[in-house]
Subunit: 287 residues, 2 copies
């Protein structure tokens, strides 16, 4: 496995691999890797001949006051994990390499970026889109792998790639959860033991909502009200940022649940804002 | 020469050429080609093995009320001209091909897009940046050729390509002028004979301003005032949109002229808004 800090060296390494006929897979990350990230490397490893991973805590997707300064690191453990899972190349640029002249150019996707997490993080997805565009232009992969925990990010990046004709296939991968159901997240490590117990309520609220939808397809507002009540009771230290039921393609709120819907929520706990979601297909299957 | 309407066919044609070792040059245009455009094809022909041209009147860079509906066409003459100048491929997509699901994704360059033409055309450069990104992703050229008549566009596209790590070299080409000095423009054909005579004043005002700067490096405000007066007298049917003296990299207004400066102006005549510019280097040479 090669660890590279220089853009030109990434290009050369990938280009050499491709000239040998290799299909190139890419997993962009912000490091502090957990099994969720590593499952993306596994997926890339299965689908492609050459696997590139990036580790870059992108400052432009954090707003002032968010947790950029305290975002977890741990590059040595990350590199070992990448190697163990079979990555061929890890790109670890510094901020100067990625933004040598600041960040005046921006890529944005209107209509999909203002709802859900975009409500409380209005500049977040432009930061994500811009850095993903840059990384895709640097690595030029055939396929790029994104997890469904950041469902809105996945939808936005997929749309951006289509709209800008970026020649890459975006591959969507399932959420990886702890045994008790909590979705894996780098930010989970910031929770106190007591709050960590409460955080299970995110998944439980979603499970319960999916069960209600499967049973009787109640109006979205009813499902949301129940989930809200469940979270208030079972995660008293959490401040609900949003609970929404939306169309999984347009991300627009829906009123009825007798169709494919995405249940998505975000809760601010002391130390970390957590997100989770479940997709419910028309047959009522939670995914 | 191949004329292609389908994105996949462009990709395949360019990819085949590249696999044979060809360096790929690209000239994006909106058609109604004149010698200015054709000089870009010549430059691409000299520098590259395979030359792709696009002809697409991009609706997203026109604001409501601008001249999208009346923008000149003439595809047959354009294709003949491309063939005569040695283009290998002309991409002629329709709007549905370029924007099959609308235009929600946008690329913008802040700080460079709000001055000069951006003052009266605030959404123009986001439209340009987005379509250029798309075209570069479709064609994937080694070099792309832009004329200096649209100097602000050249600066913005160059910065965008650097910021987004798009692997292409932007090549800047000189303004091509009519014998009387008027910069070639598709929109010149909309001028009445009387206004066409007045339009020479744009170039003459710039020439005179360059001469003043060469001679004594007067304050920018003085040079601008003289140019404004000259245009009022010699192009009475023209409404001055702007006359600015700026740093050619940052496009910020400068106060002094004893440095490299760009003189740029835009004048609205009945039928067409025209732009022109001259670069004056530190030795006082107009370019």
């Amino acid at each position: 496995m090669k660890t590279v800090q220089i853009i030109a060296e990434v290009r050369k390494t990938v280009s050499d691999a491709r000239s040998g006929g290799a299909a190139v897979g890419f997993v962009p990350t912000m490091g502090a890797l957990h099994e969720g990230h590593l499952s993306l490397i596994d997926a890339a490893r299965s689908a492609c001949d050459f696997v590139a991973v990036s580790i870059f805590v992108n400052p432009t997707q954090f707003a002032p006051g968010e947790d950029l300064a305290t975002y977890p690191g741990g590059i040595e453990a990350d590199l070992s994990a990448c190697e163990a899972r079979g990555a061929d190349l890890v790109f670890v640029p510094d901020v100067e390499t990625m933004y040598p002249r600041g960040a005046v150019t921006s890529v944005s996707v209107s209509g999909l970026s203002e709802t859900l997490c975009g409500r409380s993080r209005p500049t977040h997805f432009a930061g994500v889109c811009t850095v993903v565009t840059k990384l895709l232009n640097i690595v030029r992969p055939d396929k790029a792998f994104f997890g469904r925990k950041d469902f809105q990010q996945l939808v936005i990046v997929t749309r951006m790639v289509e709209d800008l004709d970026i020649p890459v296939e975006i591959v969507s991968c399932p959420i990886v959860r702890h045994a008790d159901g909590l979705a894996m997240s780098t930010r989970n490590q910031r929770l106190s033991a007591a709050v960590r117990l409460q955080a299970v309520a995110l998944h439980a609220a979603l499970e319960s909502a999916v069960a209600r939808i499967r049973q009787s397809h109640p109006p979205a507002a009813e499902v949301i009200a129940s989930a809200r009540e469940y979270l208030s009771t079972n995660a008293p230290d959490g401040e609900i940022d949003y609970i929404q039921i939306v169309d999984p393609q347009t991300l627009r709120d829906v009123e009825t649940t007798d169709r494919i819907v995405l249940l998505a929520l975000a809760v601010k706990f002391p130390g970390a804002r957590l997100i989770d979601n479940m997709l419910v297909d028309s047959a009522g299957e939670g995914q």
